[in-house]
Every structure is written in structure tokens, then in C-alpha cells.
């Protein structure tokens, strides 16, 4: 066995130095989430009444609880922190671990870098060990730094450290999952998509399981559920971290077992010969073909998301009625159940919209990836106007998210309209339609970035990130309206309201048009990367 691990130590050292740079932002976000909670909460929600009010607001919109997980206790700083950071930071660290493992193992095989390494004095398992080692160390670091920093900023010892330990736990489990998918996929992209799909599915299932108060086995069957069940600040159970450690070990053992049999640069599925003649003759068809796999995967994801959210919507009034704080709001006549239900649906569709923007941004990023891989050059050496090439990707980046919002929205509409909760199929579909312009604004950010300033291609995600933070977190932080209005989703009217205002959609569409002009003009004028 020792022979297959020769050379791990120097490789791990080099990999750590290079990969920690890409892992650092994930750590920073996790630490920032946790630290900012304990710093900001006492300031924004100083007394009991404020905090009870927040708990009631959260209870009144289960859609937000579905993203962040259940709020067990919002009366203490630590309780608030574990509600706001546990699910989200755990998700982000897990995502960081997946991307790191895929990049350092299969990514290097795809780029040929690993061939140089593998031809050196290097054991068969060393590269996998170094890759997963970086993810494990990075996740551990995230936990240690977040825990210590939170305590230093005034968090109580035990809940803060336990919360931080769940970040590490999430990262470790998904480093293991990614190590397995890295053996299955035929290339780095397939490997990481597979692992991200597992993470996404478990995340949504956990959110829904808590929201609809599903039987407890649905939570215990879900590794992410173990993390939530540690309940920092409302119980402080350390033992659910043990099964997480167990899963990590089992997954890694499986990964190393498969790695020992796998051929270099190949997945489990062998490639077959393809057609000798091509039918793709335009840039439109080419863009479709290049984005085909992720577009299909996302279509399935939105079908599933629509089903889950739709099913959730049918039981939303029961969920609301079971919440004592919400019951008090309803009893006082401050809101009607129908109002809460339609506010819930608006949030649900905004969440679908923000997620739907991701494939849009990915499509534009793919165009940049093609450019960097020198595959745009031969296309433009043909008789192809630049705008047409750019438009081929931009059209997909606009159409696909719109279709996803409509498709996902239609499933929610069908299920919600069938249940007796006071909304019709038409209402929900109209709400989905009203959400689309906001999605387009986010996608247009990436069109502008890739067209005009491709070096900042990470900024293409700015729209998605801002919308997420402002739309879902902003209101609970009592942010000013002008700040909330930066998110295009703030301008989406509730179509069931009598005094709905459509002008906001006009304004954000103007911004969309402006961003498109910037993107297209930029792409026409700039040098193509070589």
C-alpha cells in the first residue's frame, strides 16, 4: 500500500499552496456569515420583542425557512447564527470541497498536467489523496477559523464551535462524495456536476422535510440533516458529527478502491465512436450542442424543484396555522391567510428565478471557456459575424432560464391550483411570467461582463449573488428600500394584489437592455483571447 502513496507529501504541499487560493473565498464567506451574525444581530434586533417579531415573520413565510432551514431559536445571538449560517455556510464549504476535489483529480487529468505528475515517482493513489487532502484540510480550516473568530466576536463557546464543526463536517462528507464521483464521470465537468447534483438534491430535501414537518426518518436519512440535528444553541448535540465522519471515511475508501482499477483519464463509462458526418452547421446549433448536457440536467432539476415546491405549497396553510406566532398575526387581522399564501408563492418563484439564472450565467461562462480553449478562434475564422456568435450564447442564456421559470412555475401552479389554498393556476403562472424579467436582468449582468470585461468573468456571478443576499436575507435585516431595490426581484409585483405596480419591471428591463448593449458592443470591439 505504501508504494501507491509514494510522493504524496511533496505533492500535497504544492497542491495546498496552489489550491488554497481558490478555497480561501469559500472559507471567507463561511467565516463572514458566522461572524456577521453575532455582530449584527444584537445591533439590528436588540430586544425580545424585535426577535419575536422576526420569528413571526420567518414563520409566516415558510419559503425562506426552506432555504435556510428551521429556526429553532431566534431569541439568542447564537441561535440566530445557527439558523442563518448552518445550512448556507455548510452548503458553500461543501461546494468548495467538491470543486477542489474535481479540479485537482480529474481536472488535471483532462488538462494533461496530471500526466506529467503520474510519470514521475508518484504512487497510483497519491494524486487522489493530495486532492482530497486539500479539500479536507480546507474544510477543517474553515471550521477552526469560523469557530474561533465567532467566539472572539462575542459568540458563546459551545454553540459557536459546534456550528463551525458542522461546516467542516459538510465539507468532509462532500469531499468524500466528490472523490467517488471523480471516479465515475468521464471528465472533470461531469464529475463535479454529479457531486453538485447530489448536494443540491439533499439540500432541497432537507429544507422541505423541515418545512412540512415530515417524519423524522426523512431527516435522519439525509446526511445534511445530521448537520442540522446538532442544533447549535438549542440543544448542542455533538454526536451527529460521528455519522458524518463515518460517511466521509466510507466514501473515501470506496473512491480509492475504484481509483485503483480506473484507467488514467477515463471514467467508468467508455466513449463510443461517433458520426463521421456532422449536422451542426450554424453557431446556434453549436451553442445548443455545447450546452446540451447542462441544459438537460437543469431541466430535470427544475422539474424536481417544481414538484417539491408545489407539494409544499399545497400544505402551506397547515404549516402557517401550526405556527403560534403566525396564528397570532392572523387572529389580530393584520394579515389574511390568502395574503400570506400569495406572499409565500412570490418568494417561491423568486427562489426558482434566482436558481434559474445560474444556467444562464453558466452559458455565458461556457462561451468564455471556449474562447480560452482556443475554440472560438476557428469559428470566427469562418464567415461568422461576432455578434452572431455572441448572440447564439446570449439567446440560450435568456431563453433557458425563462423556460425553467415557466416550467417549474407551471408545476407549482398545477399543484397549488388543485389544492384548496385560494390561488388559481392562472395566478401562479402569471406570477412566474412576472418573475422572468428579473431573471433576465441577472443574466444580462453576465452578458455584459463576458462581452466587455471577460477578465473579470467571476463578476458574471455578481447578479446571482446580490439577488440572493438582498431578496432572501435583506428583509430580515431591515435593510433600507434603496438597498433592497438593487435586487431586480424586489421590483417583481405580486400579481394577485389589486394595486400591483408594473413600472418596476419596466425599469429593470431598461437596465437589462443597457447591459445587453454593453455586452454586445464590448464583444464586437475587444480582442479575442489567444
Amino acid at each position: 500500500m505504501s508504494g501507491s502513496l509514494t510522493g504524496t507529501r511533496p505533492l500535497l504541499r504544492v497542491t495546498l499552496r496552489h489550491e488554497m487560493r481558490s478555497f480561501a473565498p469559500w472559507i471567507a464567506i463561511a467565516v463572514g456569515l458566522s461572524v456577521s451574525s453575532v455582530l449584527a444581530y444584537p445591533w439590528i434586533f436588540p430586544d425580545e420583542t424585535d426577535r419575536a417579531g422576526l420569528a413571526a415573520t420567518m414563520g409566516a413565510n415558510p419559503a425562506i425557512g426552506m432555504v435556510f432551514g428551521p429556526a429553532f431559536d431566534l431569541m439568542t445571538d447564537e441561535g440566530f447564527n445557527s439558523w442563518r449560517s448552518l445550512a448556507l455556510a455548510g452548503f458553500l464549504i461543501a461546494l468548495g470541497a467538491i470543486l477542489t476535489v474535481s479540479r485537482t483529480t480529474r481536472g488535471q487529468e483532462d488538462s494533461g498536467q496530471a500526466e506529467l505528475l503520474a510519470s514521475g515517482v508518484m504512487g497510483r493513489a497519491s494524486r487522489l489523496l493530495a486532492g482530497t487532502g486539500v479539500a479536507l484540510i480546507g474544510s477543517l480550516l474553515a471550521g477552526v477559523v469560523a469557530g474561533v473568530a465567532t467566539v472572539l466576536c462575542g459568540g458563546a463557546w459551545e454553540p459557536s464551535l459546534l456550528l463551525a464543526a458542522t461546516f467542516t463536517g459538510s465539507g468532509w462528507m462532500f469531499a468524500g462524495v466528490a472523490a467517488v464521483t471523480a471516479q465515475l464521470g468521464s471528465d472533470a465537468r461531469a464529475a463535479s456536476s454529479l457531486a453538485v447534483a447530489v448536494l443540491g438534491a439533499l439540500y432541497v430535501l432537507r429544507g422541505v422535510a423541515y418545512a412540512i414537518e415530515a417524519p423524522s426518518w426523512t431527516i435522519w436519512a439525509n446526511p445534511l440533516g445530521w448537520m442540522t440535528e446538532t442544533r447549535p444553541a438549542s440543544g448542542d448535540h455533538w454526536w451527529p458529527l460521528l455519522p458524518a465522519l463515518g460517511l466521509t471515511i466510507v466514501a473515501l475508501v470506496a473512491a480509492f478502491a475504484i481509483q485503483a482499477r480506473r484507467d488514467f483519464g477515463q471514467g467508468i463509462i467508455a466513449p463510443r465512436p461517433g458520426p463521421a458526418r456532422g449536422r451542426i452547421r450554424t453557431t446556434w446549433r453549436l451553442a445548443l450542442r455545447l450546452n446540451r448536457a447542462p441544459l438537460i440536467a437543469w431541466a430535470i432539476a427544475f422539474g424536481a424543484l417544481g414538484l417539491v415546491f408545489g407539494y409544499f405549497a399545497t400544505s402551506v396553510q397547515d404549516v402557517l396555522a401550526n405556527d403560534s406566532a403566525v396564528a397570532a398575526i392572523l387572529a389580530s387581522g393584520a394579515a389574511t391567510p390568502d395574503e400570506l399564501t400569495s406572499a409565500f408563492l412570490v418568494t417561491i418563484l423568486s427562489i426558482i428565478g434566482i436558481v434559474a439564472a445560474i444556467p444562464g450565467v453558466q452559458t455565458m461562462q461556457k462561451l468564455r471557456g471556449e474562447e480560452l480553449a482556443d475554440r472560438v478562434e476557428p469559428i470566427l475564422a469562418g464567415s461568422v459575424p461576432r455578434q452572431r456568435l455572441f448572440a447564439s450564447s446570449a439567446v440560450i442564456a435568456f431563453l433557458a432560464p425563462a423556460l425553467y421559470v415557466f416550467g417549474g412555475g407551471a408545476i407549482v401552479a398545477f399543484l397549488a391550483g388543485g389544492a384548496d389554498i385560494g390561488v388559481s393556476f392562472g395566478d401562479v403562472t402569471a406570477q412566474a411570467a412576472a418573475t422572468v424579467p428579473a431573471v433576465w436582468t441577472i443574466t444580462a449582468v453576465s452578458v455584459a461582463v463576458i462581452g466587455a470585461r471577460p477578465r473579470l468573468s467571476i463578476a458574471a456571478w455578481a447578479g446571482v449573488l446580490l439577488s440572493f443576499v438582498l431578496t432572501l436575507l435583506g428583509p430580515t435585516f431591515k435593510l433600507w428600500d434603496w438597498a433592497l431595490a438593487i435586487s431586480p426581484f424586489w421590483h417583481v409585483p405580486n400579481v394577485t394584489e389589486a394595486d400591483r405596480d408594473w413600472s418596476g419591471l419596466g425599469w429593470i428591463s431598461l437596465v437589462t437592455a443597457l447591459l445587453l448593449v454593453v455586452g454586445f458592443a464590448g464583444f464586437r470591439r475587444r480582442d479575442i483571447a489567444a
Binding site: 471528465d187 466513449p271 461517433g274 451542426i280 450542442r289 475564422a381
Partner: protein, 299 residues
Amino acid sequence: MDAENVIDVRGLGKSFGRFRALDDLDLRVAAGEVHGFLGPNGAGKSTTIRVLLGLLRADSGSVTVLGGDPWKDVVALHRRLAYVPGDVSLWPGMTGGEAIDLLGALRGGLNEERRAELIERFELDPTKRGRQYSKGNRQKVAIVAALASDAELLVLDEPTSGLDPLMEAVFTDVVADAKARGTSVLLSSHILAEVETLADRLSIIRDGTIVETGTLTELRSQARTSIRATLERIPERSALAALHDVHLDHGHLAATVDADRIGEVMTHLAPYGISALTVEPPSLKSLFLRLYESEEAPQ
């Protein structure tokens, strides 16, 4: 503007940030000729070609390709030219055949007969996927895609890198066929031998500027003949005045001389008793190597 030239570049400059990649570059390729574009790695060959293709924007100077502006008239011009990049990157999931048809279709169509013939001659398997091809085979895909078109101008950027010697020979034949059909060719390379057999005229680029241009004969006449002689007595300085690159070790003399001064040199050396003598005809290689060395000022 000379209507005969398919490529006409005057005073071209291009910078990337502070790095000046091209500086006052002149390049003219006549219709129907194969023009060799030679230079060491990093001299600016690919940058020049990317400007010719309208992928990069010229900072200064005038650039005309097939009578048009490569930046503005992209669509019309690219219907009439075909390009083979030096580093071919194929779509990992698409077969070579699909890539050939796509690139051909984007240019406005392929000559079906020639497509089949080229695949046959290059022994290319068009059913393999992009990620399965070796470097040489990826190169073949790009060559077939470009040469199967009826383009008036072929722009080839180090097209044979990665091809084995047999395939290189096939490539030479195929380009010669294209020339016979009246196609103009800009053939960039850093290897002289590749260009020597095909090119009518050559331009040599160094540090972003053309240092020599002309026909092979013209360039050859600029190269010096090398002389090696064993003399019985050490010659005086004045006897060596017409020689260049003189190395004198006891009686062994090694030097170069301009072709038109060989007789004169012989007359001067004869009195010192020549016991052995080799005179090598001018080699393009020596000129080429001399021009590559950047410390030395160009002639």
C-alpha cells in the same frame, strides 16, 4: 494599393499592455504565391495572423486582406479564406467529422469530393471524438477542414507541428495542389525546411518586425559562402579584409565571404600556401540562424 497583393500590411503595430508585440510590420503576399512566414518562437507570427483574421485589432498601420479590411469586413472576407491554427483545440464531445463539417459550413460550404479525398490521404478517422485525438490528428482535422474549402487564401499557422514525416509529405503535396488551383498561401513556420520546398517568397520576422523579405534566390544571394582553409604561413591582417566571422587557429582558417568576393579572397590567400580548402555554397540555414539571433543587428 497594389491589386495584385492578397495580403498587404503596412506599418502594423500591436501592443498588449506594455508589451509591444508588433512594431512597424510590413508584409505583402502576391496573388497565387506561397509565402513563407518565418521566425523564431514568440516573434509575432501568430499575433500577425490573428490581426489578419480580424481577431485582434491593429493599433496602428494599414492592413488589407483580399482587398478588404479584416476587422470590418470579417464576414465577406472569411468566406474567401481558410485558416489552420498552430494549436488545434477540438470540441471534446464532437467527432472530427462533425468538426470538419461545422467549420466548413460556417465558411460557406465544403468541396465534398476533396473532403473525402483528404480524409483518405491523411488517414484520418472522422468518427473519433475530439478528446480522443492525438495532437497530430487534431492538426489533421483542422487541415482537412481548411483545405476542403474552395478558399482563395489559405492562412496556415505552423500547420505541420505534430504531424509525422509521412503526413508532412502528404501536407506538402496537398498545399502544392492548392497552389496549382491558384490559391494563395501564407505559411507560417519556425522551421526553414518546411517552407523551403513550398514557398515562392519568404518574410522573416523577429521581435515583431520583418527583417528580411524576398524570393529564395534573393535571400540565398545575401547569405555568405563559408570557407575553410589550411594555410602554411599565418596570413597578414590585410589579406583577411574581405572576410567575415574570421576564426584563425595557427594555420586553420574558418570564415565567411560574400559570394561576389570569393575570387578576390583566393588571390589574397594564395601567397600563404593553401594546403587544404573547402568552399561551401551559401546556405539559407546560416542566414536564417543569423537572423534569428536577436543580439546581432540585422543587415
